[in-house]
């Protein structure tokens, strides 16, 4: 089939992939916004979310859905993965990062600790779950015959579900950050930690909650990726993490809308690369984008220049 013929199909695929990248990228960008640190273990929280989702799915299938209507299986998987990834992210912050950043060590300290946490989590999962990949029995929930046909484009119900869940979570996060007191505190801490504390904000708690939320989104992305690719392994967080980090930088690191837009743009760029170039160039294109952004627009697409307060 010619490239143009499958283009619409590839664009939908790109959007689904991009929504996932965006979901993971939010975790990077939230943590960066508040601590100016890259949580290199974030990809592993995504991977662990995929494992939790897998375990729940296997358990539910063996239990004959435990009396649950199949519609509820994905929400239960998401809920469990988000809770566990979220709690794990919070634990990392408490024990691997906080002791370093509160001591006012260099910014490199928590960063190195994050790399260590990443290696630790990969190996912990490999040792406990085995090095072989696990298989998501997606077809039990989403038979291949479930799709929607619009003109020449055929979109599976699974992909529609992925896009909707990712967009819903992004929307919820946006409402939380923009409209609630907690979100206002998060923005205050991100902008000026000291003044936020003087306003009475418990800065440590806000940082912990930021890790909880960002990691939970990563965990949800893990479930969606597991359902889509049907195969997961302990190393999956590495490349997904790098891609999502690229998306965060592309959109402007520290900027929530940037992470969402960056994810979608990167997903679409990748799917175009797959369509018009050799699919093997997929990762090359993604990282060329990262390099180009860093060289020509280091603040990212939506990177803002904060108006400076007038100083003498």
């Amino acid at each position: 089939m010619d490239a143009l013929g499958i283009l619409p199909q590839q664009l939908v695929f790109g959007l689904a992939l991009g929504a996932i990248y965006g979901l993971i990228a939010l975790g990077y960008t939230m943590v960066y916004g508040i601590l100016l640190m890259i949580n290199f273990a974030h990809g592993e929280l995504f991977m662990i979310g995929a494992y939790v989702g897998w375990a729940v799915l296997v358990w539910l299938i063996n239990a004959g859905f435990g009396g649950l209507h199949p519609v509820w299986v994905v929400p239960v998987m998401l809920l469990m993965a988000m809770s566990l990834s979220g709690l794990l992210g919070m634990t990392l912050e408490r024990f691997a990062y906080r002791p370093l950043y509160t001591r006012g060590a260099t910014r490199l300290g928590p960063l190195i600790s994050a790399v260590g946490a990443s290696i630790f989590l990969q190996n912990a999962v490999m040792l406990t779950m085995g090095a072989r990949m696990k298989v998501y029995m997606t077809s039990v929930l989403f038979p291949r015959s479930w799709y929607v046909q619009v003109g020449s484009v055929r979109v599976s119900v699974l992909v529609l579900m992925m896009i909707s869940v990712a967009l819903l979570l992004m929307w919820l996060l946006n409402v939380l950050v923009q409209r609630t007191t907690l979100g206002r505190c998060m923005r205050a801490v991100a902008e000026d930690r000291e003044v936020a504390a003087v306003m009475g904000v418990n800065v440590r708690r806000v940082i912990a909650v930021t890790f909880l939320l960002g990691s939970a989104l990563g965990g949800a992305a893990g479930v969606l990726v597991g359902l889509y690719y049907t195969q997961i392994d302990f190393f999956m967080g590495y490349s997904a993490g790098l891609k999502a980090f690229t998306a965060a930088v592309l959109g402007g690191i520290g900027n929530l809308k940037g992470a969402m837009v960056g994810g979608l743009v990167l997903g679409v760029i990748e799917s175009l690369a797959v369509t018009f170039l050799n699919p093997a160039y997929r990762d090359v294109v993604a990282f060329v984008v990262l390099i180009l952004v860093l060289v020509f627009r280091p603040t990212g697409l939506l990177g803002e220049t904060v108006p400076q307060t007038n100083k003498v």
Binding site: R187, A197, M199, P307
Partner: protein, 237 residues
Amino acid sequence: MLELTDVVAGYGPLQVLRRVSLGVQAGEIVCLLGGNAAGKSTTLKTVLGLVRPRAGSVALQGERIDGLATEDIVRRGIALVPESRRIFARMTVWENLEMGAYSRRQTAPAEIEEDRERVYGLFPRLKERATQHAGTMSGGEQQMLAIGRALMARPRLMLLDEPSMGLAPVLVEQVFDIIQAINRQGTTILVVEQNAAVALSIAHRGYVLQDGRIVMHGAAKELLDADDIRRAYLGED
């Protein structure tokens, strides 16, 4: 109201405050004068728990507050107008005021609304700009917002760090008139300033800080007439 006794504080190996003692009585305006790096801001940070004293004590209304977390200290009724304002630039004016009231989020919303109206009454410009991003406002407007934000905490004691900094002389006068008005409505004030003349013009009493020590204190009038002050602050700017 506020009592610092022999406070020693600093950052890492750097000692900034060397046995600072000062007191602020309820209802007073007290100014803390001194040049660059004399330790004025560090004094305020120590009161707020942002810097931990290595020795000495800080007491608010007879109770020691050194050692408490910052959020617990401000809940006891202290608010800060920070140096160079430090308003939340990416938030709207309304949101900045909301952050100011955060320490008393348990109080009835109606009461907070009342205080917002009071702040709008004091600074009508803030009401006009309520939905605007604070970072887009002029320096003078940002200073008003910083003061308004502190007022939203309905503090018993308001700390101001260099409120005249970077403002045109007309605005400086206006800001200090407002500080005086806030004091008359019952808020105790501790203001840190390099601009001694304008600070002493509204203060009841003043302290002079030099190299981390209080080198002089007395009634504002006495300090205004003191030769040392005139000399020190003529050489300052």
